[in-house]
Symmetry: C2
Subunit: 260 residues, 2 copies
């Protein structure tokens, strides 16, 4: 069984044309079937600003009213997604840009209002991994924008980290799966002030220890909780690494590898 690599690339790389090109070349060089999930970056906020639509973030999450939903649909589902697809085509990767609505790949439900009304934000209900597998078998490389849909035809803004993890977990039915989160650091750091203090392997026990001493900081905790959950649900390996090191991380163990 081929190992499938599911990679999430964050907004900071999307915002930097040179860094994005470097990342896409590395992504294209990876052997075997692969899936890319991209974030949105600051372009959505910039476009919203110019359109006179105010951006409100609560704990790093975008409040998505109807006008903001239209902005993220345009920017993530249109501009960013199609630019990535066209670039991958020149790198001989037959990419296909998708939102969750396309081919009903990722169904979600509008998040119920509790303390905060996030608006048109989706919590994932179901991934159609059979459909995704069918694209992979045809040598297509799915490139997902972080937009899903609901059974009543709403488009919903969805966290790209969560989308990557949900897709990776469901793809376990068909493949051995490696999930890779690319971001702006070389991995999970022992010392947040030292970029070279990368933890090579992280187990749940070690993770608890680092949290206890405060070495692993607040922003990393939801990402790592999510990543350990993916391992529990059958993903073989989770890697957290710098976007520039994605090829080395997958093949030679750069970055941080999470183990059960």
């Amino acid at each position: 069984m081929d190992t499938l690599t599911v990679i999430k690339i964050g907004g900071n790389v999307i915002d930097d044309a040179t860094a994005l090109q470097r990342f896409l070349s590395a992504f294209a060089s990876l052997a075997g079937p692969k899936i890319l999930i991209h974030g949105g970056g600051k372009i959505a906020t910039q476009v919203a600003d110019k359109l006179g639509i105010q951006t409100t973030m609560v704990e790093g999450r975008r409040i998505t009213d109807q006008p903001m939903l239209e902005v993220v649909t345009m920017v993530y589902g249109g501009l960013v997604n199609k630019q990535i697809v066209a670039k991958l085509q020149t790198l001989d990767i037959n990419a296909i840009g998708l939102t969750g609505a396309d081919a009903s790949t990722v169904l979600a439900k509008r998040r119920p209002v509790k303390d905060i009304d996030y608006g048109m934000v989706g919590d994932i209900e179901e991934v159609d991994s059979g459909q995704i597998q069918f694209f992979l078998r045809q040598d297509l490389t799915p490139v997902f924008a972080p937009i899903t849909y609901s059974t009543v035809g709403e488009l919903l803004n969805t966290n790209a980290d969560t989308m990557a993890s949900a897709i990776a977990v469901d793809m376990v039915r068909h493949n051995q799966v490696t999930l890779v989160y690319c971001f702006e650091k070389k991995g999970v750091l022992k010392d947040p002030t030292d970029d070279n203090s990368v933890i090579n392997e992280l187990t749940p026990t070690l993770y608890a220890d680092y949290k206890a001493v405060g070495a692993i900081n607040k922003g990393m905790i939801p990402k790592l909780d999510n990543a350990f959950k993916a391992l529990d649900k059958g993903v073989s390996k989770v890697i957290i690494c710098h976007a520039d090191e994605v090829a080395q991380a997958v093949t030679q163990g750069a970055g941080t590898t999470l183990k059960k």
Copy 2:
């Protein structure tokens, strides 16, 4: 062999939420495999205006500089395409939104500058009908935004009528094909001032006659020239009809049917 229906829906319907919903319901009701190609409508111009990007049209064609290309990629490839896909999903049509870059379905070349520099506008070079057929065989319904790509990774703005005709012509390799242009009139009119003077059947000879007496006016001529070319290249039937009458046009002969 199933008859494949390739339908182009224009911007005037895209701009009108109620008319779009009516059209999509009729589209969903059509039996057999089908493909939708949509135009962009005025939303691109409105978004461009708000972003401070000037719209220049020459003979009904949009001059597409780099900022305008980003707008049409956002609006056609993102907003309009994904809204249509999500709506079709609620109508039990497993739609998949595509630009020509996705799965390398429609390759184009940037139009050479002659009298007018149209900018980032694509002339279609090649349709991968095998890839499109593969989606259809999986009961997916392709929904194309009028954006193509070039071998150097440019996204290119492409006329939706031309894209519909190029796709229909190439799909002849796999299916018997009916090509339908939906617009705001009930068909090709004998008398442009009388909405009920629809010509039921139009042959090249009749077309020449109507042009000679000036009954068929300037705007229809490129559309009809294009349509007759599609017939010459193997498309079985071309229909020109009102968006509201697409189901009757395909099954009961409403609108204008072009014959060789």
